[in-house]
């Protein structure tokens, strides 16, 4: 089987300081990869490099495109890369405000990606928007409300709907549950797990919350100071951590 995403030797430096270095992995279709680590460990830098938001200094990010098979997204032309970003890729930001248009209604937010790939039938766009709001548990009568009128959890779900409406194959998530209270987190995780299974999505989830990766991720990478210190199956890494830092991380989780 061809990996959906092959990451080879990614490095990003901010001047002399290391953002991330020597990162490489393969992601297969339907697989969810978790990246954990403390603040400043380079997880978000890595995610930005993979998603094309930040040019890395070294390395290759090879994506299995629908049309031409595996291609290095870093050497693609910009229109191709941006097309990929709004069709086969999706990016869920930690703060919903970064990923939503706050001045545009929920329906318009969901419909934007459809219109960006050429949908020009209002009725169809609206039907799909309502359908997707339903799938992320937002009532259909909120379709014309602006995201400002939504709670934090609803904004995050709206952001997910907006990203998944074009049926992407790879989703990047940066702390998708950050800033939400635990009961809302639980519902969001439940929803995400359902969607990932149902749509056969591959995902890369960056988080510092081990519970999130335990629930969602098949595989786990632990980062510290810009390098990967341990990787493996999620349960294996969390139940039998080998590296000193991973042991610290696992034992730091509060039990209630």
């Amino acid at each position: 089987m061809t990996p959906l995403l092959q990451v080879q030797d990614i490095a990003k430096f901010y001047g002399a300081r290391r953002g991330c270095e020597d990162v490489g992995f393969d992601l297969y279709p339907g697989e969810v990869m978790g990246i954990v680590g403390e603040s400043g460990s380079g997880k978000s830098t890595l995610l930005s490099c993979l998603a094309g938001h930040l040019p890395p200094d070294r390395g290759e990010v090879i994506f299995d495109t629908r049309a031409d098979g595996p291609r290095d997204t870093l050497s693609m032309s910009e229109p191709e890369r941006r097309m990929l970003m709004r069709t086969d890729w999706a990016f869920v930001h930690q703060h919903a405000r970064d990923g939503l248009r706050m001045g545009v209604s929920a329906g318009g937010n969901v419909g934007e990606r459809l219109m960006a790939v050429g949908a020009r039938h209002y009725g169809d766009i609206r039907d799909q928007a309502v359908d997707w709001l339903g799938r992320v548990e937002i009532a259909a009568d909120r379709v014309d409300d602006k995201p400002q009128a939504f709670s934090g959890g609803m904004q995050q779900r709206l952001q997910i709907a907006r990203n998944l409406v074009t049926g992407p194959r790879l989703v990047f998530m940066d702390e998708p549950t950050g800033g939400l209270d635990v009961s809302v987190q639980a519902r969001l995780l439940d929803l995400l797990r359902g969607l990932v299974r149902e749509m056969g999505l591959s995902a890369i989830i960056v988080t510092h919350d081990l519970a999130v990766v335990r629930l969602l991720a098949d595989r786990l990478m632990v980062m510290k100071d810009g390098r990967v210190v341990e990787d493996g199956l999620t349960d294996q890494v969390l139940d039998d951590p080998q590296h000193g830092y991973t042991q610290l991380l696992v034992s730091s989780v509060l039990q209630v």
Partner: protein, 289 residues
Amino acid sequence: MSDYNFAYLDEQTKRMIRRAILKGLAIPGYQVPFASREMPMPYGWGTGGVQVSAACLTPTDTFKVIDQGADDTTNAVSIRKFFEKTAGVATTEETARASLIQTRHRIPEEALSEDQILVYQVPIPEPLRFLEPSEVETRKMHSLEEYGLMHVKLYEDISQHGAIATAYAYPVKVEGRYVMDPSPIPKFDNPKLGMAAIQLFGAGREQRIYALPPFTRVVSLDFEDHPFEPSKADHDCDLCGAGDSYLDEVIVDDAGGRMFVCSDTDYCRSRRAAGHVGAQGAPYEEGAA
């Protein structure tokens, strides 16, 4: 002196503006940056249009200025006087006699011909501006032809009002390539944008010039199930009886009285001179106001 610095601007400035105009004509709908000069009037009063007009005027031109369709409002009168003084060109209020027409927010009702130039005053040239505040990003969107966002605006209109409520500055796609703001003309005028005359758009504060060559294919954006509709008040002109012109609604007393009159004053006058009389109009007399 007027031979050396004809029409207010110095020759180097006019040369720079003409280059921008030529580039704009070569790439219809593309916003060409230019080094806009300080003009002796405030931004928002047509500084862009005046610079384009100054660069296009020749001593044999006949000049006309329109402000919201009218020849006799402040903006029109002051710009017309400005060029009478600085260029010494002949001026007129008759659309057919003018070779260069500067306009604010209207296209004349009378069809223009191939030997005329129409210059628009543009406040905000970027059609995507209110959706995407970053100039870097909007330029990239233009260069990569990413115009999905423009339809988000129309989507919002329909979801809020049940129909595309944008009534002026209605976005158009030029020759299947650039999305362009046709300046705040009513969407009633959009179908005329493919006219025989050269159309030049000048935005002074924003420092952009763009252009439509004659007979350019200009399509107003819409949805398949909500097609574009040019709209006007559902009346005839009360002075000249015209049923096909764009109308202004005028409040005439404190008791709710109102009348609808042609926004194009020259069109209305010429129709009345030809003997047409509307519901509230008096027969036309030469020289009467």
